[in-house]
């Protein structure tokens, strides 16, 4: 992708860890040392199964959680050290879209007030508040008449678009979309995805798109990262990732996606993984995937695989490629 060439990253994540203390002395390593860059104008997809830490990554980037260690720098500044005016600036330029359209809008607030929240907080009085909200509603395909309604009157897809309008109100450059479509019906998912792509074209937005639906991620992302138990296991351009997955986990994940074409049913070779994802409280030693990996070797139990660029812009953490 041309967007990723010769540009400074807008967001740079270096060895970020986020550990939670659960029940006494146990430590849940939700994110256990991940590094990646996001370049202006691109969409980075982040996929993985539930509990792999992908949502925690998003929330740590936007400071909903404080990182246990590591550094998140956004436009050259460490986000976890910002204060005062700079912090306000960050709140404006980095925004988030949430997963559950039923929980992400305050049921007691009118759509007008929900969307205008950022305008109120940041005192953005360039235009009349009401005009601005109407403009935002129209941007996301709704209209003036919706401003006086309450969230429960809207369908899931409409609510999700209201959530997008709320994020857009502060004119961000970077949006973290945390599973924005997984709670929606298929036909509505496309509405939201089309809207996100349109906004990206028109406003040059950068996205971190967190999801577990691999076909949608492939469609929307320029590059894709795959997470397993708190670590990135592979990161590449999305076509490269889907055509030529290197990590055994990525291979299994891709082959597990059901394809809506019965004629392909018998052609595909599937890798069906055995067992379940181990607990992040007590993960396996060495490579965390080794307990389910069809190609595990002796070294996988003893040594943590290095995060390496195997091909140009194709990173993987696996002993098979050493």
């Amino acid at each position: 992708m041309s967007a990723t060439e010769k540009k400074e990253p807008i967001l740079s994540v270096k060895n970020v860890k986020k550990h939670f203390q659960v029940g006494g002395k146990k430590i849940l390593k939700a994110v256990d040392g991940i590094s990646f860059d996001i370049y202006p104008g691109e969409t980075l997809g982040l996929v993985g199964e539930s509990g792999c830490g992908k949502s925690t990554v998003g929330r740590t980037l936007i400071r909903l959680y404080n990182a246990t260690s590591g550094e998140v720098s956004f436009k050259g500044k460490n986000v976890h050290e910002l204060k005062g005016k700079e912090l306000k600036q960050l709140n404006r330029s980095m925004q988030m879209i949430f997963q559950d359209p039923y929980a992400s809008l305050n049921p007691r607030m009118k759509v007008m007030d929900i969307i205008a929240e950022g305008i109120d907080i940041h005192g953005l009085n360039g235009k009349k508040r009401e005009d601005r909200v109407i403009e935002l509603l129209e941007t996301v395909g709704l209209n003036k008449s919706h401003a006086t309604r309450f969230p429960h009157e809207f369908s899931g897809g409409q609510r999700q678009r209201i959530g997008i309008a709320r994020a857009l109100a502060v004119e961000p450059d970077f949006i973290i979309a945390d599973e924005p479509i997984s709670a929606l019906d298929v036909s509505v998912q496309a509405q939201v995805v089309n809207l996100m792509k349109k906004l990206q074209r028109e406003r040059g937005l950068t996205y971190l798109f967190i999801a577990h639906d691999l076909s949608m991620v492939k469609y929307i992302s320029d590059r894709v990262g795959v997470m397993y138990l708190g670590n990135l296991v592979e990161l590449a351009d999305s076509d490269e990732m889907y055509d030529n997955p290197l990590h055994p986990y990525t291979q299994a994940l891709l082959s597990a996606v059901p394809i809506a074409d019965p004629s392909l049913k018998n052609e595909r070779e599937r890798v069906i993984l055995k067992g379940d994802v181990p607990s992040p409280i007590d993960p396996p030693s060495g490579c965390k995937f080794r307990t389910r990996c069809p190609q595990a070797m002796d070294i996988c139990a003893s040594t943590i695989p290095e995060w390496k660029e195997i091909k140009e812009k194709h990173f993987v953490a696996c002993h098979l490629y050493n």
């Binding site: 509505v188 998912q189 496309a190 993984l273």
Partner: protein, 339 residues
């Protein structure tokens, strides 16, 4: 092939304080022995209500069976008493649900929950039932079933719980298994395991499966026949190849187009279905999909189309099927193909 289950013109409504919600408005389909029938549709289309209605799990009130019959081996389940249904549920027709956590009793060991059904329906002694239960756990691929037998549901992972649910459902060799979004709550790799398991068990036990889902991918990989539902009605039904290779209803087209293809160009837009499904408190007069349909005609607003046979298995409820719309249909189909 013989029909094991035949649903005819089923209507189910719910009475709420704001009025009568017509959740299922005339659904007909049949399930053949040893086959998998998938019911697809978006949330609120009535697919889950249909499946619960077959099991007579709808509470009346607020629910009401307005009309229609559910023939199981020729007997109408709708007319059966609760006592007779108890002999059907679990033994003849079993069900698994979306969320295995809430459908297992958290205060009872998994083993006991399997044994309960076996003792009730198969008149086995406790020891025999236990043996059978452990055999079932082994069958659904739960490792070390003897020790798992005495564990509680919270000690199982999500995938394991769904396996345990399947073990409970299949423990009495039911003829029909209704699976209501069995893998929606699970991750893809676990979903693949469970779908594999269901296919494998079906081949071994000859169970007929009704698979309720919104995921066309899952349908394509597991079903033999498909019923597409919209706003409480069947809009299209046919064999898996018919539905995926030559879908005929604009709603089915819409569903297929709104998903990205594997090789979809990123610069190409997806084509979502605009708007939202109608409110079933006051369903529209004509075709329920007309308002969202690109190809709607005058008549679509006025009269609800009936389900008509296109070929032996393939049925469609759309005015485009009418002989008088033949020319227009041709135009529409050509337009679609050229895109």
């Amino acid at each position: 092939m013989s029909k094991i289950l035949d649903v005819r013109d089923l209507h189910v409504s719910f009475h709420t304080y704001s009025g009568e919600v017509k959740a299922v408005r005339g659904v007909s389909f049949d399930v053949e022995k040893g086959q998998t029938l998938a019911i697809v549709g978006e949330s609120g289309c009535g697919k889950s209500v249909t499946s619960q209605a077959i099991m007579k799990l709808i509470l009346t009130p607020p629910g009401e069976y307005k009309h229609g019959e559910v023939l199981y081996n020729g007997k109408d389940l709708v007319k059966m008493s609760e006592k007779e249904m108890e002999q059907i549920r679990g033994k003849e027709i079993a069900m698994i649900f979306q969320d295995p956590m809430t459908s297992l009793n958290p205060t009872m060991t998994v083993g006991k929950q399997i044994v309960e059904g076996i003792i009730k329906h198969q008149k086995l002694s406790k020891a025999e039932a236990k043996e059978k239960a452990i055999e079932m756990l082994k069958l659904v691929g739960i490792p070390s079933p003897e020790s798992r037998f005495t564990q509680y549901p919270h000690q199982f992972s999500g995938g394991m719980r769904q396996r345990a649910m399947i073990a409970i459902a299949l423990s009495c060799n039911p003829n029909v298994l209704i699976a209501d979004e069995p893998t929606t709550a699970l991750d893809v790799t676990i979903q693949a395991q469970i779908m594999d398991l269901m296919k494998d068990l079906q081949a071994r036990l000859g169970t007929s499966i009704i698979l309720i889902t919104h995921d066309l991918g899952v349908v394509a990989e597991t079903a033999d026949r498909v019923v597409v539902m919209y706003a409480g009605k069947v809009v299209e039904s046919g064999t898996i190849n018919e539905i995926f290779a030559e879908p005929r209803h604009p709603y089915t087209w819409g569903l297929m187009n709104s998903m990205p293809k594997l090789n979809q160009d990123r610069s190409e837009e997806l084509s979502p279905i605009p708007g939202a499904p109608p409110d079933l408190l006051a369903p529209p007069k004509g075709c329920a999909f007309a308002a969202r349909c690109k190809y709607a005609m005058k008549i679509c607003q006025e009269v609800d189309p009936e389900l008509t046979e296109h070929s032996k298995d393939h049925r469609v409820a759309c005015w485009l099927e009418h002989p008088m719309a033949e020319a227009y249909r041709k135009e529409v189909v050509e337009g679609r193909e050229s895109v």
